[in-house]
Subunit: 150 residues, 2 copies
Amino acid sequence: MTSVSELTDHTGFRMRMVSNAVSQAFARKVEAEGVTVAEWVFLRALYNTAPMPPSVLAGSMGMTRGAISKLADRLLEKGLIERTDSPSDKRAHSLSLSAEGQAKVPVLAALADENDAAFFGVLTPAEHRQLDHLLTVLAERSGLRAAPVD
Amino acid sequence: MTSVSELTDHTGFRMRMVSNAVSQAFARKVEAEGVTVAEWVFLRALYNTAPMPPSVLAGSMGMTRGAISKLADRLLEKGLIERTDSPSDKRAHSLSLSAEGQAKVPVLAALADENDAAFFGVLTPAEHRQLDHLLTVLAERSGLRAAPVD
DNA sequence: TATTGTTATACTCTATAACTATA
DNA sequence: TATAGTTATAGAGTATAACAATA
């Protein structure tokens, strides 16, 4: 019989604990740059790619079209992305980084580097590689290819 | 010089991706039991412990008192926790699981087991142990002892 | 004055579904 | 009819800060 005191520690629980701490710290950092974490993921997805319709972004970010639409509105207001109407389909358009957005991505990436260093720097290089490997395996075997957002 | 195409994959980013997928799947599972993930964490924190004032819970869950207050309201409405006024301090009270809450925790824990198995079962036992170890190291060295909530 | 806890306000993220315009 | 995208609505989570009651 299983008594309640034997509640196991769940890997998912522990991962959430670490991941949330990392993300919250990162959120503070990018806030100083005037963007949210979701906006960073959005900008990152557009970096070095051809302009993309929102529907494609929704798929690659693992978000609904409605959520993408709201995010895109904010980024347009901030002047970080641009919208280009499709010449062939009057319903459709593509999104791409503006010059300002283009310039902002490396700045945000540097903050992500800093944040990673602060949290994962406590691991030995071998441990850090191990972790990356395990996360990659988990993402691949679970069919993930998208960006997490919250 | 660093060109934009060399944007590294961040460990924090990858972890968030995996963690979010795990959490979202878990959220679906506990939803069937009528609770949210935050409520599960709350109930779990009260399991097998002495009654706790909300301020202590806030600390151990890494949430503000305001957030705990809202969560506690919901759990009281659902009849899963109980409130006991402090005899010595008329401002204070303690929270504990109701009989129903007590009974619910193992059910939710079983769902967490299932969820862990579904996601981390793709790892070999050795890899799974490695991951647990790494997450524990990260949590400890980052001063985390709390539960993530979002 | 300081502390316990609640409440008010506000924002992000998310999802569902209704809706508009075009195909 | 189907598709691209927007908008409306709602709910969960979070934080800050003002507030009430008590210490």
